[in-house]
C-alpha cells in the first residue's frame, strides 16, 4: 500500500488573474482518476466520525467506499438517500466545520476532501442526464404546501415527494432556488448547469413549483390550509430583510445592500447588461462592509463587474472573519483589499447625492464578548476616508415578515423569527412547520436543508396521524 498522502488532492481552479474578470466557476472539479485517488485516502474507520458532522446525515463512508471501487452510480445513489441537492452541497457547504472537521486524517494532515468527492459524484451523474422517474402518487395522497423554493423548502419538498405526498412549492420570485439563485454567485455555484438542473430533477419527481406567488399577499397560510386543500404547510422563507448600519449617508446613490447587489447580478444577470435589462453600478472603487461569506461574494462580484479596487471593511481582525477560510483565500488571491479593524461611521456623498467616500474609524480588539469573539473598540480620533464610488452593506439580514404577519396563531420571537421546535420544525400553529433562516436567523445552505429534512419527517408523522384519525 502506498504511503498515505497528508494532503488532499489539489482542486483545479481557474487562475486568479483570469477568473477575477469572468463569472465562470472558480473551482473546476476532480476528474475520475483524482476522485478515486482522493477516495483511496479514506481509512474506512470502523467507527466513522465524519457522518456526525453532516447536518443531513449523508452516509459518507458508504459513498466513498463506492467511489473506491469506481461504482460511481452507487456512490451518488448513496448520497441521494439523504441529500436532495448534492451538486450544490459539494460546492457551498462549509465542510471544514462539518464532516471534514471530524475526519481522523485531519489530526495529522488534511482530512479527506469529502465535499470535493460529493461534488464529483453529483456532477458525473448530472452530466449523464439520467431520467428521473416520477413518483406514483396514491389517488388520495395528502397535499403539502412548501413556502419558499430555497434550500430548506427544496429539501423538505424532495423528502416529502419521495414519501408519496403531493407537494407544491410557492416561490415569491420568478426563479426557484432562493439564495442559490439570487445570492450565491455564478462563479461559486453555476445557475444553469447546477441549480436549475437540481430543481428540474425535483420537478420531474413530481414536485410542483408555483413561481411569482407571494404567500402572505396572494394566499395566506389559512387559505392554503382551507380552500386550497393543503393538509400541512412548511415555511422556509429565509432571511429576506437586509440590515443597514443606520449611519449617515446610507441612502445615497451607490449604497447597496448585499442582497440587492447580488440579486441584480445573480438573479437578474446584470453582469450581462444590456443584453439583460437590469442595470448595476460599481464604479472604480467599491467598499464592501462585513466579513462573512456574503461579503466575500459581493467583493468578488464587484471585481468581476470591473471595479478596479475592492475593499472589505470589517470591524474585527483576520481571525474573527466569519467567512470560510477558502472564500477569504480566494478573495485575497483575486486582489480584494482587506481593511480589517475598521468600522464605517458615515457614507460621504457629493452634492448630487452620490457616494464619494466611506468614512471609517480604526478599531482595536478588547476582551472576548458573549460570542467568544474579541469585541472591537473604536480608537478615538482615528477617522479616515476611503475614496469609493460604491458601498455594499453585507452585515447580515433579518427575517422577512410577510408570511408571519398574515398568519394568526404562528408565533414569532422578538427578532421576528418564527418559533419552531428544533427537532420537528413544528410551529405554534397546528399543521404548520418551519425551518431554515426564517427560524434560526441567517445561517448556511446545509443547515437550512437539514431543517427542511427534519420537518419533512415530522410532517410525515403528523399526516400519518391525521390519516388514521
Amino acid at each position: 500500500m502506498m504511503a498515505l498522502s497528508l494532503e488532499k488532492h489539489r482542486m483545479p481552479e481557474q487562475d486568479p488573474k483570469v477568473r477575477a474578470h469572468n463569472f465562470n466557476e472558480v473551482a473546476l472539479g476532480y476528474d475520475e482518476e483524482t476522485a478515486v485517488a482522493e477516495a483511496e485516502r479514506c481509512l474506512s474507520c470502523k467507527i466513522p466520525q465524519c457522518r456526525k458532522g453532516c447536518p443531513v446525515g449523508v452516509d459518507i463512508p458508504g459513498f466513498i467506499a463506492k467511489l473506491k471501487t469506481r461504482d460511481f452510480d452507487g456512490a451518488i445513489s448513496k448520497i441521494k438517500e439523504s441529500n436532495a441537492l448534492p451538486a450544490v452541497c459539494g460546492r457551498v457547504c462549509p465542510q471544514e466545520n462539518q464532516c471534514e472537521k471530524y475526519c481522523v486524517l485531519g489530526k495529522k494532515g488534511e482530512p479527506v476532501g469529502i465535499g470535493r468527492l460529493e461534488r464529483f459524484a453529483a456532477d458525473r451523474e448530472m452530466a449523464q442526464n439520467k431520467e428521473v422517474k416520477p413518483i406514483a402518487y396514491a389517488p388520495d395522497a395528502q397535499k403539502v404546501a412548501v413556502i419558499g423554493a430555497g434550500p430548506a423548502g427544496l429539501s423538505c419538498a424532495g423528502d416529502l415527494a419521495r414519501k408519496g405526498y403531493r407537494v407544491t412549492i410557492f416561490e415569491a420570485l420568478h426563479t426557484a432556488g432562493g439564495v442559490l439563485s439570487y445570492g450565491i454567485p455564478e462563479f461559486r455555484l453555476p445557475k444553469d448547469a447546477i441549480v436549475k438542473k437540481e430543481i428540474a430533477n425535483l420537478e420531474k419527481l413530481g414536485v410542483k413549483i408555483e413561481l411569482d406567488a407571494v404567500v402572505g399577499q396572494l394566499y395566506t397560510i389559512d387559505e392554503l390550509m382551507g380552500e386550497e386543500g393543503f393538509d400541512a404547510v412548511f415555511v422556509g422563507t429565509g432571511a429576506g430583510l437586509p440590515h443597514f448600519m443606520n449611519i449617515p449617508g446610507e441612502n445615497l446613490n451607490g449604497v447597496y445592500s448585499a442582497n440587492e447587489f447580488l440579486t441584480r447580478c445573480n438573479l437578474m444577470k446584470a453582469y450581462r447588461f444590456p443584453e439583460y435589462a437590469t442595470p448595476i453600478r460599481v464604479g472604480h472603487s467599491v467598499a464592501v462592509v462585513g466579513g462573512g461569506n456574503v461579503a466575500m461574494d459581493a467583493a468578488r462580484t464587484a471585481l468581476r463587474l470591473g471595479a478596479e479596487h475592492v475593499y472589505i471593511v470589517y470591524r474585527r481582525g483576520e481571525e474573527e472573519l466569519p467567512a470560510r477560510r477558502e472564500e477569504v483565500h480566494h478573495a485575497k488571491e483575486e486582489g480584494v483589499d482587506f481593511q480589517l479593524l475598521n468600522n464605517p461611521v458615515e457614507v460621504v456623498g457629493d452634492d448630487k447625492g452620490w457616494v464619494h467616500a466611506l468614512k471609517c474609524i480604526r478599531m482595536e480588539l478588547g476582551e472576548p464578548d458573549a460570542s467568544g469573539r474579541r469585541s472591537p473598540k473604536a480608537v478615538p480620533g482615528s477617522e479616515f476616508e476611503l475614496a469609493v464610488d460604491t458601498v455594499v452593506m453585507a452585515i447580515g439580514q433579518g427575517p422577512n415578515p410577510i408570511v408571519a404577519s398574515t398568519t394568526p396563531g404562528m408565533d414569532t420571537n422578538k427578532r421576528g423569527n418564527i418559533i419552531a421546535d428544533e427537532e420537528t420544525g413544528a410551529t405554534t400553529k397546528p399543521g404548520v412547520f418551519a425551518g431554515g433562516d426564517i427560524v434560526t436567523g441567517a445561517a448556511t445552505v446545509i443547515l437550512a436543508m437539514g431543517a427542511g429534512k427534519k420537518a419533512a419527517a415530522a410532517i410525515d408523522e403528523y399526516l400519518k396521524k391525521k390519516r388514521n384519525a
Binding site: G240, N253, R264, Y271, P274, T278, P279
Partner: protein
Amino acid sequence: MKAKILKKEMLSPDVFRFDVEAPRIAKKTQPGQFIILRVNEEGERIPLTVADFDRERGIITIIFQVVGASTELLAALEEGDEILDFVGPLGQKSEIEPGLGTVVCIGGGIGVAPIYPIARGMHEAGNKVISIIGARSKDLLIMEKELRAASDETIVTTDDGSYGIEGFVTAALEQLVDYGEKIDLVYAIGPVVMMKSVANATRPLGIKTIVSLNPIMVDGTGMCGGCRVQIGSETKFACVDGPEFDGHLVDFEGLRERQDMYRDQEAEGKDHICRIGLGRGA
C-alpha cells in the same frame, strides 16, 4: 405566473392601458397596491401600481408610460400575448373607510391611473370625493371619464391651458381651499415634484396628505432594500412598508436623486444593441 393581455389601448402617444387576465391576483388586490411584471427572460422586474381591478372578470388593469427600453418592450406586446411574470398584489392597501369626510384625490400625468381605484373606493365608502387630475396638455390627459364617474366633483388642469384650468394641480387645490372647501384628507400620486408641491401646499394647512411612491426596486417583497426612502427620521422600504406614506414626512429630494441612479446605464442600454451576443461584463 404568466398573464395574458386581453385588451390593449393607447391612451396617449406614450401611454398604454392593458387589461390583464390574472384572476388569482384580482381576487386579492386592493386600491393602493402594486404588481411587478417581467416581459421576457432578459427583462427587468417592473413595478406598476394597479390602475383598476375587476374581481368578477379576473382582470388587473395596468397603465404605463414608455420611459425606457423595458417599458418599450412592454408596449410592443399585443392583445393575446402573455406577460412572462406577473406578481402581486404587493405592498400595503390604501386605508379606505367611511366617515373620512371630504377627500381630494390628486393625480398628475400617469399618476391619474393609480389614483382612480382610490377615488372609487373612497366614493363607494360614502366619502365626498373631489378629484383633481392634471397633464401637460389635453391630449396627454388620461382616465377623465373614469374619474368623473368615481367622484362628486372633478377638476382638470393642464400645464399649457389646452383644457381645464391652466397650471399645475396645486393651482386647483389652492382654488378649492380659497373657495372655502373643508378638506379632510388629500391623496396625491404623480411625479415626485408634483407630490412634493402638494405636500408643501397642505402642510401649513394641516391637511393630512398621503402620497404613493414608486422608487427603484427589484423583488418587491422587502428582500433587496433598493426602494428605501427616508420617512421622517426613519428609513422605510416602499415595497413592504408602503407604497403609501405621509407626504409631510417624505424626503422627496432624496427620492428624486435615487430615481436617477441608473440614468446613465439606461441611456447606454437603450442606445447600445449588442450584435455579437455579449453583455458589457463579458
